[in-house]
Amino acid sequence: MINQVKEIPVEGITYKSLRVKKKPLLAEYVPPPPELVPRAKRAVCIDPAHTCMPLGAMWATLGVHRAIPFVQGAQGCTTYVRYTFSRIFREPATIANASFHEDAAVFGGRKNLVRGVRNLVCRYQPELIAIVTTCSSEVIGDDIHSFLDEALDLMEEELGPEVREAVKFVVVNTPSFAGSHVEGYNRACREFLKTLARKSGEAGEHVYLIPGMMTPGDIRELKHMMELMGVSHRVLFDISETLDCPLVGMPNRIPYYPPGGTPVEAFVRAGDAQAVWALSPDAGSAGAQWLERRYKVPAYVVTMPIGLRNTDHFLRSVAEATGRPIPDRLRWERGILLDAMADTLHYTMMKKVALCGDPDFVAAATRFVCELGMIPTYILVGTKSRRAEENIRQACEEYGHQPVVMNGGDQFEWEYALKNDIPDVILGHSRCVNIAREIQVPLVRFGFPVYDRVGYQREPIVGYRGGERFLARIVNAILDHQYPDDRTHQ
């Protein structure tokens, strides 16, 4: 845009003069027929805002120590996910694949599973293999459990009986046509606990947290808060030390495994947990609720702790369940967030904001932007979720806003709405870049997936400290875009 400004005025350029009015629509531009804009009235899906179930299950598995997801499907089902993860985390992630070829489509994936699992066990010595099904194996109707029995029998013959103890198996049924990646994570969560969790009778000393598809930075922030509370805790599917690890050099033992991850033993002892929190209602609550039903572990399903009230709510529930007071240190952090909110209210108040992303992230962030005095206008919930919509409605009612909620819509619908009613800022994932460029609105990245910013995965947005940083990111984006550099401080 800058090269369109003919002369640079002597007194400096204001941002207003930098922003060039959009060119009038080209003559050949035909607006889409209005009846085809809402997703519900269309058969064709344009730029879906969610992806398929196996990704969620693989994400969860990669948070377990020495665990490998084994994808029972065609090779692409892994390639894309590996590529997605590698773009988000910039970390190696081992994901195995059954390599379905034409014969598997005809005769079923028995041979692929039996041989594949054996190959994995021999070469990678994992502690856990999660068998993640795909649409192809589900349509063929693979009987995974009987295949697995056969694989175990053969491995026992070949490698000795200790193989049954050494490697644990979890089967997660994730046909991609039945839900989104959020549901995939949710199912994986339930299946992991169903398969592994036991109750020994003696009371465990830990509380359990199921983070959902949070980034490593978020999980570290959760741990930080729990440490301040003095609550001994375990995070299930802890990707903070598997998908964000230091560069170490050549490991002594090949193959390389990241040092961290939730140990399998933590899942086994989950039946003794004092309490369990699902921090993403749509990704993980199934696991928490199963623990409650089966082993009477008190389960708390809370909105993701983004922003002030959501974090308050989460910490209060922890305090009530464990009987621990909220320490001064956390009150201090809360105060800092409050201070930041008060300091910057000029830049956030009455700014129109559009949101896009997974239900848990969007529902929590909507409340946060309301707390900042912003006006949510168009909210795209990538995966259809009643709970997220309720949360959004509730938050917006409290603050007197009436946003348009596109529950389970696609990005085409949302972007069309944005073009006709341009917001001041967009909160969304990296796939919102195009629309942000087109309508010249700053984009604050959050949620899944963020792949075009370095270090995003290490920056928390949950908790008070995360909220403060998230706020800073939002305000800085607005400042960068709307205010000349020399007039920001008053």
Binding site: L36, P48, A178
Partner: protein
Amino acid sequence: MSAQPLVPFWQNPCGLPSRPGLGQRACAFFGARYVLGPVKETIQLVHGPVGCGYYGRLVRGVPYPLYTTALTEKEVVFGGLDHLARALREAFALNPEARGAFVYLSCVSGLIGEDVAGLARLFEEKGLPVKTVACPGFSSFSQAGGHALAYEVLLGLVKPGPLAEEPTVNLLGEYNVAGEARVIKGLLEGLGVKVHTVLTGETSWSELEALTRAHLNLLLCGSTAQALAKELKSRFGMPFERVSFYGPAAIARSLKKMATFFGLPEKKVLLQIRKGEDRLQKVLPSYKDLLSGRRALLLLGAGKLGPLARMLRELGLEVVAAGSIFGREEDHQELRAYTDLVSDNPTEDELEYLLKFLKPDVVLTNARDQWRPIKLGFPTLSFPQTVDRGPYTGYEGFVNLARDLVKVISAPVWRFFARDQS
């Protein structure tokens, strides 16, 4: 080479099915989408669950638009053909400028046996050309099957027509990674040769229909586009030449080939080659000092390996081992001139053994696999390169490659830790 330590590295030949649990390959849909993605004036629609539509946009560096029918349980059980027909009609309504549509079949639609070809005929009768790309993920051993399918579809679009007046060529198997097409066009235009279309880096439905305008097809990537070149020759009598613009020797050879074909004055060609090589001489010697004698490990699609090994040798590097994700035996033959350790579809643990025992100075691999060697402390250059790194083709591309190699090898970060823990 004989002095190399014994490495647990399975030397697999090409063309074998993947070993379950150990593959790093992609699926047929990936290959088809890779080739067809950039074709303009088309509607691209994947008939499958939402995941294939979501991921189909990240096959190429540029997220080319892709529609999907986002099949749900209902359609999987009761058939999704009506849904597809509706989706296609809507897609045409939303894109009045489209000349036609490509419908990709993914695993699900392949398995439930949808008669998409029949539906395509119905649309064609209405004057809306719909081409079916039957590329369920399981239908081939690797993405190569998808490439072949996609080129078959493209071949179906070509119509006989008049020849162009000036010397004109098509570039086949040129995917315009980081602006390669621009560099090649520049080289050819220096000789007075026009480029009609770039398959499939920069092309459109109309350009494909008029493909026979060109006098000559230049075959840049043998593994993906060879069948197309042969078929164009037998059907339309279009001759093809195998060329490469990777590395100065290959550029000179290719330009001379072109000159002979079009009967261009030799002086003009030699002048252009000299001009390019003079430019190289200005910057390359300082890079070569840093690069010569360095040892490289390659892990990429086989078609890319041969030209890359050649360029590395021209820069003074030695290739210690090469693994292809997928490829043809001819590609492996070409590679054996550079290294003895050649395998197809190596696994992650094999890669780690290679790194441990061979200790290469630089690893060249693809974007998905680059983080493992980096984590283990090896300078790594990833492919396809991003736009900011520029193309690796032509004279300027050769400099770009040398510069990037120097960048990754001489980055100070590799000095701050002990690579070997044991």
